[in-house]
């Protein structure tokens, strides 16, 4: 079933008139828009978006830590909405825009959340950081006025074993202030 994915972004899918085509187990060619660029790749139907990003697309900034949607390390944006890329199949993406940690900065100019993470030391080992940054950046993008509780809620699904949460909250609040100015 490659068309039953409407709940992913909270948006309705175009109804599929025909019965879904049967695919797999062999790889099939798909196209995807990643960080603004059209990419073509071969994926097995069972390959997750996280695996496709890290493997054939070579974007290893996205991390896999639990591989079952429990830790949010693999967070990327799908049409601007943070999702766990380990719980989405690559073949489901279709025309939706994928944004990964590698696509967040504009050239050399870091996203304000990225810059604030450095300034506030909102990272230690850095393994949860790409996912954490993606969730915090999405929050700052969609909601200019933030409270600490908003940030905590936005990252409540993210695990950081180094315990960076206090600095993550401080950094995201600072980034939101920068963004407003």
């Amino acid at each position: 079933m490659i068309n039953a994915v409407s709940a992913l972004t909270g948006r309705a899918e175009a109804p599929d008139s025909a019965a879904p085509p049967s695919v797999g187990p062999d790889p099939l060619a798909i196209a995807m828009t990643v960080n603004g660029a059209a990419r073509s790749l071969q994926v097995e139907p069972r390959m997750t978006l996280a695996e496709a990003l890290r493997g054939p697309l070579g974007l290893t900034g996205t991390k896999i830590a639990c591989n079952r949607g429990a830790c949010s390390a693999c967070t990327v944006w799908l049409d601007g909405v943070p999702i766990c890329s380990c719980t989405v199949l690559a073949v489901e993406i279709g025309t939706r825009r994928v944004t990964t940690i590698e696509g967040l900065a504009r050239g050399d100019a870091l996203h304000p959340v990225q810059a604030a993470f450095i300034a506030h030391d909102a990272l230690q080992c850095g393994f949860c950081t790409p996912g954490m940054v993606m969730s915090c950046a999405a929050l700052v993008e969609r909601q200019p006025d933030l409270t600490a509780d908003d940030v905590r809620a936005a990252i409540s699904g993210h695990y950081c074993r180094c315990g960076t949460y206090p600095h993550v909250v401080a950094a995201t609040l600072a980034a939101a202030r920068t963004r407003k100015e």
Partner: protein, 778 residues
């Protein structure tokens, strides 16, 4: 400037800044840099410099081991025991070897070898495959046929202590000492599954208890905690005819190189270990491990690079854990609080490994003339434990610091007053004073005094940890003719930011900004650095970094002196310039001095000298400073007596680590220690099914970790405590910051509800059971 080539006396800052900073005279060994001023007088050291690799980490550019991909790389996977105790009578790997995509098959538990034929825990490695993809490797594993004979087993520590329990080992097969990479005392007797006791003592506890006006006694229990590193244990092994290169998520590149050389019969110079990004270790990535050996053996067999990454279930089941403990403490005291005797009996289990003691807090935290301890390891059919952030002392402090809290109440003394009386440390005295003020200790009320269903309370607990040093630690500093500077060591950055601290150290000596220093670490091609465990990295590697920078500066001083028509011994550095001391009008740019060098590159290598005041002890490459590391933590909690939920509202952590090198990075680490302690106190527990020996929560959703919404406000205060012991006088912080949190929370819970929770984790069910509202867990 005094002559450097022989020892001479120097005056060093000594004591606590703001609480009696003084001066001490020490013999400075030859070729060591002069005493370093307190942080207030320095330009780079002690400043909150953002970490150098921050940009790479926030853009996804950092290369972790799991991100390494080599041409022709194969994927390894391990077949693991489904049984808690079994003998293997046969393994047939023919079909797996024939599977398309398979490139190597390894039998780990060989039936023809007596010692390898028995599996003792669920998840023990049985065999392994390397194949062209992860999927192919998993498919091949399923084709391996194993003839297991199930044996009786015991997964529960209390059951394992019974004389009738199935034996996990016999005398011949039991591990003797350093089996889990964490030291256990050698040559102790084994009786059934119980090994020990390891004893400690002084004075006469019988006499001490006879003298006591009051005795408190209690039993405390702590659970198994797993490390839950976000980056799994990972290795890429590349065996080639001319040598072995290993990329590994490790806390000790130089140590893994030694282990590999020994395990595979290679000279050290043919083994290279590399780690760039390192996604958390907390003790569990201290050694090569079985998965490391397996990956290298597969690579050797396949003649190709092999990547082996544990999945989350394997991480939870077999990548180490903090052992469970049970301890009984008795403390005798006089009316004024003076301790007369402490006795400690503990049983702990690290599964099939050793090292499940409760550390040295009861022995060493307080003045007490009479002490006796008997600590036992209990073998169970469970995966091997290993060191985890403050091994021993974290569970030990959970018991001791509650017992001291209880004693204070029985003596009708404030817990801080009692500690002022029995704790000889001037450092912790100052920490108690600062922390009490910050948390508002004088507002603390009597236990259970809040009228409503939500009851608030405050608690305090203390920490003790050794100031560890690795003497086998070296660092190189290079200056290029264009004035660029590199610092090199095999030391690895596991998230602490040690690379940034090295850059600060070198920059301070050379009068440069820390961003001007290029840091090259995490590679055994560089001088051997220390491990990142035992809170010893900063203490071990920053002194040689300063010494190397100081030595490499001398040829530059000579060039500058020639250029400025001055004497080399009158040179000093400031803001990127080399100048004549006392005549800042005469100076030369650092780069211009470098341009005058005879060769393109000059270099100096320094190793860690002994502490100037001598070590407390030294054994092979490891040593311990004479002073301890401490820390005092205060917790404020709210307990909902209807739901049993404990919320930690605030923690004040007052810590010491000698000279604080970078307050920004230290604050991060202390917050991390507090959060790991809070998570240990309230949420985490590895649960084994005692009927199968399997872990029932081998993931990150049923194994509960503290998240952002469980995080209290955390105030971090770090003392500057100078001891005149090395070129930087800096020590570690990671472990001391993790010891006091759980007992501080437990003491705060007692203060809130008037009931003492003596077992971890302190779940809502445990709170309700204590309140008599819910049946206690059997």
């Amino acid at each position: 400037m005094a002559s450097d080539d022989k020892p001479h006396a120097e005056r060093f800052p000594f004591g606590i800044v703001g609480a009696g900073l003084g001066v001490v005279t020490r013999q400075l060994p030859p070729d060591e840099p002069p005493p370093l001023a307190p942080n207030a007088d320095l330009a780079v050291i002690g400043r909150p410099v953002p970490r150098q690799n921050g940009r790479a980490k926030v853009t996804g550019a950092t290369r972790f081991t799991v991100d390494i991909s080599l041409p022709g790389m194969l994927h390894g996977r391990i077949l693991r025991s489904p049984l808690a105790h079994a003998e293997i009578h046969g393994i047939d790997v023919t079909a797996a070897a024939r599977h398309p995509g398979t490139r190597a098959v390894l039998v780990v538990a060989r039936p023809d070898e007596l010692t390898g034929a028995t599996l003792r825990y669920v998840g023990a490695p049985v065999a392994a495959v390397a194949a062209v993809s992860m999927v192919a490797a998993a498919e091949a594993l399923r084709l391996i046929r194993v003839d297991y004979q199930s044996l009786p087993f015991v997964a529960d520590m209390d059951e394992a202590r019974n004389a009738t329990a199935p034996p996990v080992f016999d005398a011949a097969s039991a591990p003797a000492g350093y089996a889990s990479g964490f030291p256990a005392r050698l040559n102790l007797p084994l009786d059934g599954n119980v090994r020990g006791p390891a004893t400690d003592g002084r004075g006469d506890t019988a006499e001490g208890f006879a003298e006591a006006d009051l005795v408190v006694e209690g039993e405390y229990r702590t659970q198994v905690q797993t490390h839950c590193c976000l980056e799994p244990h990972a290795i890429v092994a590349d065996w080639r005819a001319d040598g072995l290169t290993v990329y590994m998520s490790t806390q000790f590149t130089a140590g893994v190189r030694h282990e590999l050389a020994e395990a595979f019969g290679l000279p050290l110079d043919r083994v290279r270990v590399i780690v760039d990004g390192m996604g958390g270790g907390f003790g569990s990535k201290s050694t090569l491990g079985s998965y490391g050996r397996i990956a290298v053996a597969l690579s050797r067999q396949a003649q190709a690079p092999v990547r082996l990454v544990l999945d989350r279930q394997e991480e939870q089941m077999d990548s180490g854990n903090r052992p469970a403990t049970w301890q009984r403490l008795r403390i005798g005291a006089k009316r004024d609080g003076s301790l007369t005797a402490i006795s400690l009996v503990s049983y702990g289990t690290a599964g099939v490994a050793l090292g499940a003691g409760v550390g040295n807090v009861a022995q060493a935290l307080y003045a007490c003339p009479n002490f006796a301890a008997a600590q036992y390891d209990v073998f169970t059919n469970a995966s091997p434990g290993c060191a985890m952030r403050a091994p021993g002392n974290a569970p030990g402090a959970f018991g001791l610091e509650q017992a001291i809290d209880e004693l204070a109440e029985r003596l009708q003394l404030d817990p801080l007053t009692l500690r002022d009386h029995i704790d000889p440390s001037p450092v912790r005295r100052e920490e108690r004073r600062i922390g009490a003020e910050r948390i508002g200790w004088r507002r603390r009320h009597a236990p259970g005094a809040d009228p409503g269903p939500i009851k608030r309370g405050m608690g305090v607990a203390q920490s003790l940890w050794g100031a560890n040093v690795q003497t086998n630690s070296a660092c190189e500093v290079r200056v290029m003719r264009d004035g660029s500077v590199e610092v090199l060591s095999s030391v690895q950055d596991i998230g602490t930011g040690i690379g940034t601290v090295l850059a600060q150290t070198v920059a301070e000596v050379l009068g440069l900004h820390s961003e001007a220093i290029t840091v090259r670490i995490g590679d055994t091609e560089f001088p051997a650095g220390p491990p990142s465990y035992g809170s010893r990295t900063t203490a071990s590697i920053t002194p040689p970094a300063r010494a190397a920078a100081w030595r490499v500066l001398r040829p530059l001083f000579r060039e500058a002196a020639l250029a400025l028509n001055a004497a080399a011994e009158d040179m000093a550095v400031r803001d990127g310039r080399i100048l004549v001391r006392g005549d800042s009008g005469r100076s030369i740019d650092f780069r211009d001095a470098a341009a005058r060098l005879r060769t393109d590159r000059i270099s100096a290598v320094a190793s860690r000298s002994d502490d100037y005041g001598g070590f407390r002890w030294r054994m092979a490459d490891a040593a311990q400073a004479r002073q301890d590391l401490g820390g005092v933590q205060f917790a404020a909690v709210a307990v909902d007596t209807e739901t049993g939920v404990i919320r930690v509202e605030r923690v004040v952590a007052v810590q010491d680590c000698g000279r604080p090198m970078n307050p920004l990075l230290i604050e991060s680490q202390v917050q991390g220690g507090v959060l790991m302690g809070l998570s240990y106190a309230l949420f985490e527990e590895r649960i084994l099914d005692r009927h199968t020996g399997r872990m029932v929560n081998p993931n990150l959703e049923q194994y509960k970790l503290a998240g952002a919404c469980d995080t209290p406000a955390i105030d971090v205060v770090v003392l500057e405590n100078y001891q005149a012991n090395s070129a930087t006088d800096a020590y570690g912080i990671a472990e001391p910051a993790n010891i006091a949190t759980a007992p501080a929370i437990a003491n705060a819970v007692y203060n809130a509800i008037g009931l003492r929770l003596r077992a971890l984790p302190m779940t809502p069910a445990a709170v309700l059971a204590a309140l008599g509202k819910f049946p206690a867990r059997s």
